[in-house]
């Protein structure tokens, strides 16, 4: 069963960073710090744009190829969101510290866990966006992300939003999609065995989860589940989390 616990976020948690955020949802907890725009190293300097540097640090163990993959996905999508042309030769540095991942009670913990990438991608993505908003880095738009897995259950292919590690392991395919606040598809990564039609359906579900601005009962006639209505309203959550922080900052006005 997917853990439909409500997501939680706190902004400005690190006192010395320009911006920071702590986000937890479905068992994942990530803290992000954003510093920038600051001076870039010579080797990273770009004459017309800011360089976006993403560093992902796992909870246990040293980072490896898995973290580099996550970093490159995040870097390419966040560079589209940030107005990099405003800060040539500068660096926007985003560091993500994974604090908690959901435990698989049915397997012994190993330091190297395969295929955990996709489960944590949405949490990493959301935390980065929240931290960037907290640092007031100029952005083109905000974005929300979600993970969907296609699991074989009772002979039918069931689509699961925010799959648990167990569901990911048993899934036929796992997909991570991110949409901007203008309903544009920003990131689409998939792994496993799936058809084009399945991907289209997954994309529709993800769009409904990420782009829904009010809770309406539109998608009920689909063969899918009430889990769509139960899934977190990510956009609304993002908005209210930031709105609270801004209201606290501007209490004096």
């Amino acid at each position: 069963m997917t853990a439909t616990t409500a997501p939680e976020a706190a902004l400005g948690v690190l006192p010395r960073a320009d911006g920071s955020a702590r986000y937890s949802h479905a068992g994942y907890t990530v803290t992000a710090s954003v510093n920038g725009p600051i001076e870039a190293q010579r080797r990273d300097e770009h004459p017309y744009e800011a360089h976006v540097d993403v560093i992902v640090r796992p909870a246990a163990g040293v980072g490896g190829t898995r973290e580099r993959h996550l970093e490159s996905l995040l870097q390419s999508s966040l560079s589209q969101l940030i107005l990099v042309k405003n800060f040539p030769r500068c660096l926007i540095q985003i560091v993500l510290q994974i604090e908690d991942s959901p435990e698989n009670d049915y397997a012994n913990t190993k330091l190297v866990q395969a295929s955990l990438n996709f489960g944590i991608m949405p949490a990493l993505f959301q935390t980065s966006v929240l931290a960037l908003l907290s640092a007031a880095v100029p952005m083109r738009a905000t974005a929300t992300a979600t993970a969907v897995a296609i699991v074989l259950q009772d002979g039918t292919r069931k689509k699961v939003i925010d799959p648990s590690p167990r569901e990911i392991e048993a899934a036929k395919s796992v997909h991570v999609l991110a949409f901007t606040s203008r309903d544009e598809l920003l990131l689409a990564e998939s792994e496993g065995d799936f058809t084009v039609r399945e991907w289209d359906e997954v994309c529709e579900i993800a769009e409904r989860v990420c782009c829904r601005s009010t809770v309406t009962k539109e998608g009920i006639e689909m063969m899918l589940d009430d889990e769509v209505a139960d899934g977190p309203d990510t956009r609304h959550f993002l908005r209210s989390a930031v709105e609270d922080k801004v209201a606290a900052d501007l209490h004096w006005k």
């Binding site: 960073a17 510093n35 007031a136 004096w252």
Partner: protein
């Protein structure tokens, strides 16, 4: 979605409702920080904050608080000298950013023979004379029009006997302190209270830098610490006027 205060909360990328944008017969619309213009007529916020309009001046901007200073021409800042080259000083406005240039002749009464001697690590109160995204910023310690310093220049302890130091505050708080009517518009009155009856009439001087730095100088170390702590705690705690008064009284009592 408007808040109770009537200032709508905006996120980057949202389109601004055209009815909120002020119009004026004579002045063109002025876009302040946090907004960008996409021709022909889209105004889009780039940061998360509250949308504020000033119908009198026909301006619109996004009000928000942040920690990283981005130089704008005309800002008064407190810069720290990093090193000196042949005819300019390199001064840092914020940590980990490129240094700004401060010409050695840009001080009141400075000529080629009589230059001010500033060692690395010393502080100056300067104005940003040039700032754009392609160049390193430039500072001046003298008004280019009149040639007078108007209070700009090296920040040292009062008259050589006193002491002073600089404290870090958030950019929004620095802006509030620099407002002409900081008590009414910025709702910050700590400095007045400290020098007034609540604080027991402390004697000190301050210089506020738009880059989030406040210099406090006084004869006694204790006074400087009290003022510095009052500023930082007001900033971090988001204190209102009444709470500021209580804070000042508590600090005076504690540091007795």
């Amino acid at each position: 979605m408007t808040t109770t205060t009537g200032r709508p909360f905006v996120l980057p990328g949202e389109t601004v409702d055209p009815s909120l944008v002020p119009t004026h017969k004579k002045h063109p619309l002025r876009l302040g920080p946090g907004l960008r213009h996409i021709p022909p007529s889209d105004i889009i916020p780039t940061v998360a904050g509250q949308l504020v309009t000033n119908p009198v001046k026909n301006s619109i901007w996004v009000e928000y608080n942040s920690q990283r200073y981005i130089p704008q021409p005309g800002d008064l800042v407190i810069a720290q000298i990093v090193r000196s080259t042949q005819d300019a000083y390199l001064a840092s406005l914020s940590p980990y950013t490129a240094s700004a240039t401060l010409p050695q002749l840009s001080f009141e009464g400075a000529t080629k023979k009589t230059r001010p001697m500033l060692s690395p690590g010393s502080l100056v109160y300067a104005r940003v004379s040039l700032a754009n995204k392609h160049m390193d910023p430039e500072l001046e310690c003298v008004s280019s029009a009149t040639g007078k310093s108007d209070g700009l220049g090296p920040l040292t302890a009062t008259a050589g006997t006193g002491t002073g130091t600089v404290f870090d505050v958030s950019l929004g708080f620095a802006r509030r302190l620099l407002m002409a009517r900081s008590r009414e518009e910025g709702r910050v009155a700590v400095l007045e209270m400290l020098g007034g009856e609540e604080g027991g009439g402390l004697a000190f001087e301050t210089a506020v830098g738009r880059n989030g730095k406040v210099w406090v100088g006084s004869e006694s170390v204790k006074t400087v610490i009290i003022v510095g702590r009052a500023l930082q705690e007001t900033d971090r705690g988001g204190l209102g006027i009444e709470e500021q008064r209580r804070l000042v009284k508590r600090l005076i009592r504690e540091m007795r």
